[in-house]
């Protein structure tokens, strides 16, 4: 498998490895399928809305749109299965099998490996959330230092994970309702419909408000974080969102001298260094496009 350097240098700037090519392709397929599924599904959920027939017609109306929805859904489900298989196989081949070779297999060690997986929430996430709340409610001016993956990213990972499971499973039942009701009672179809559409609405709102805010609209990344395309995060964003991990990587690479100072709070819009006065710095719109301060693009 291709080895990715932890830090890439380009034009004198450092970029930190976040996502390999496989993950980036998975993300793009997921993003595209989600958008198509939402566009072909929401006109049905809100079929009495004035815009619904127009949007539905764009996708070929009730003759074509359901087919598009099903094919796209199938692609997403295949992606889901692929992702789960890949994650499991990587854990097995890279962590559990070596352990077995060394003859150190035990239930305790294996469960430790599973708990230590990057996406598993831990106590640091809880402390980070509390720290963030303190910062957002003006009790402190210091934002918590994020680890390699922050609680936001874990949330952005598990929410679609659960969503895809629920929506995918119920979607399959609704799709194959005649077959399904050979086994399950017809009343369950009602529940599948509710779960499918309500969970889909939750997922859509979650992604298009929360996720898009974090990776597109937040002032530090606007108009778009690029990490989902390049797989590498610029140094300033890395330091802003993942300071703990940033310091660790810099030390690993032997770059202790070049470590940026802790970020404290958000940097002011106009790029002035944090002043000691407790006064908000003024913002001028004209300077913003050249603003290099970007927050970490959060990608699930």
């Amino acid at each position: 498998m291709k080895r990715y350097p932890a830090i890439k240098r380009k034009d004198g700037k450092k970029y930190f490895f976040r996502f390999d090519l496989d993950q980036r392709i998975q993300h793009i397929i997921l993003a595209l399928t989600v958008i198509i599924l939402v566009l072909t599904g929401m006109p049905l959920k809100f079929s009495d809305a004035s815009w619904a027939p127009y949007l539905y017609t764009i996708f070929g109306g009730s003759k074509m749109a359901p087919t598009i929805h099903k094919i796209t859904g199938a692609i997403m489900l295949i992606l889901f299965v692929y992702h789960v298989i890949r994650v499991i196989s990587q854990i097995v081949t890279k962590q559990i099998l070596p352990l077995k070779k060394e003859g150190k297999m035990s239930v305790g060690r294996v469960s430790m490996i599973l708990v230590k997986q990057p996406m598993i929430p831990n106590m640091k996430d809880a402390y980070d959330i509390i720290g963030l709340m303190k910062y957002l409610l003006y009790f402190t001016t210091v934002r918590p230092d994020g680890d390699e993956f922050t609680w936001k990213e874990k949330f952005d990972y598990w929410a679609p994970f659960w969503g895809m499971f629920v929506i995918g499973l119920t979607g399959l039942v609704i799709w194959n309702k005649v077959l399904a009701t050979q086994v399950i009672p017809g009343e369950l179809i009602n529940l599948c419909l509710i779960a499918h559409s309500d969970e889909a609405l939750l997922a859509a709102l979650f992604l298009f408000i929360w996720h898009w805010y974090n990776v597109h609209f937040s002032t530090s990344v606007f108009p778009m974080g690029t990490v989902f395309l390049t797989g590498y995060l610029p140094e300033d964003l890395m330091a802003e969102e993942h300071y703990e991990h940033y310091v660790r990587v810099m030390k690993q690479e032997g770059l202790e001298d070049e470590i940026l100072p802790p970020h404290g709070g958000h940097k002011p819009f106009c790029g002035k260094p944090l002043s000691d006065e407790n006064s908000p710095s003024t913002t001028t719109d004209a300077e913003q496009p050249n603003d290099t301060m970007q927050q970490g693009g959060i990608s699930s």
Binding site: S47, G186, E187, L202
Partner: protein, 353 residues
């Protein structure tokens, strides 16, 4: 002079009548033999009736003539009117013997048989025991559902656009010579062959009563039928103007019967009777091969704690989940935006860097 000698003064009246007819605009010839349009042609002709309700008395001749009753004379239905000017007219009784001869029986035509089936159905004013149902005045009569202009001609024979298909008319002309007859009977037959209204249209017609909260409560109905239908895929597709989805009638009217022959759930003749339900869903045109369990899908599921506790709590779970997830995140998002405006503000004194 021969005129005078033979018919007396009536001869002059005859000439006068002929002249009048001659100078009358051609279109008046339609149904208006009784000359009703002399007054009723004026838009805005109206009065306030005894109940204080505004009654519009204007007859749109163009719409009327295009409708299924375009050939029927006014007095054919308004039988109580015999002279002009007339007393306030009684509501039309659709069961009067029409002046039209029904071609297969050569008898005068009547809609009476429709009324007979309706009286036997769930929409009857009388209960099984022959007694008047409570609130029988709520039960539909002909005019509650039938409003002429909604009917439209069939659009088949290599034609997707609704309207009279010229190619189809050609087939009629082989035998029938009268153009008038051809168009009228073409319309008459095709409206009955076709689903003459779109599913949405049908659902809306039924919903006029079945979604009326007062009527639903008064008759102890388990659902606002139109509303709950709208929550199903069938209803949603109907909302999106799909014409191929089943509407109320496809499931509630027994196969081969008419809309006037719907029965209540407990009646073994009813399609919705628990022994028959499976057969509606798994018909060849719909969900062939569907099991009887398939038909237990609740088409008219209401979000109601009492009648559907499972659906109620299941939906509530998702509402809470959605709110519980999004509201805190939106709060964080909002605070985050605000925080970016005042990055250095804090209640507590900043510690040393």
């Amino acid at each position: 002079m021969r005129l005078k000698s033979r018919f007396g003064p009536f001869g002059y009246i005859g000439i006068f009548v002929l002249l009048t007819i001659y100078f009358m605009p051609a279109r008046v010839f339609g149904a208006d033999a009784g000359n009703c349009l002399v007054c009723h042609k004026y838009p805005g002709l109206s009065r306030v009736d005894e109940n204080g309700e505004m009654r519009l008395l204007f007859v749109n001749e163009e719409i009327h003539n295009k409708g299924v009753h375009g050939k029927v004379k006014c007095e054919g239905c308004h039988t109580d009117i015999t002279k002009i000017p007339h007393e306030p007219a009684k509501p039309v009784d659709c069961l009067v013997l029409c002046h039209i001869i029904e071609p297969t029986s050569e008898q005068k035509f009547s809609h009476k048989s429709v009324a007979t089936s309706l009286e036997d159905s769930v929409h009857s004013k009388k209960g099984k025991d022959g007694k008047e149902k409570p609130f029988s005045e709520d039960m539909p009569t002909c005019k509650d559902c039938h409003d002429d202009p909604l009917f439209r001609p069939l659009a088949f024979v290599k034609k997707v656009r609704p309207g009279v298909a010229e190619d189809a008319l050609g087939r009629c002309r082989v035998c029938h010579t009268q153009e008038e007859f051809i168009t009228r009977f073409y319309n008459h037959i095709t409206t009955r062959l076709h689903k003459s209204r779109s599913p949405l249209n049908i659902a809306e017609s039924c919903a006029r009563c079945h979604d009326d909260p007062e009527l639903v409560a008064r008759h102890n109905l388990s659902t606002s039928a139109g509303g709950s239908y709208g929550q199903t895929f069938h209803g949603k597709a109907a909302n999106l103007l799909d014409e191929s989805v089943p509407d109320c009638l496809d499931c509630h009217v027994p196969k081969g019967k008419s809309v006037h022959q719907m029965y209540e759930n407990k009646d073994p003749r009813a399609t919705t009777h628990k022994d028959n339900r499976g057969k509606i869903c798994n018909s060849v045109d719909c969900h062939p091969g569907a099991s009887a369990d398939f038909a237990n899908y609740k088409v008219h599921a209401e979000f109601d704690k009492k009648s559907n506790p499972v659906i109620y709590w299941f939906t509530t779970f998702f509402i809470v989940l959605t709110g519980g997830t999004l509201l805190p995140l939106m709060a964080i998002l909002f605070l985050d935006l605000l925080r970016r405006l005042f990055p250095n503000a804090s209640f507590s004194r900043r510690k040393e860097k």
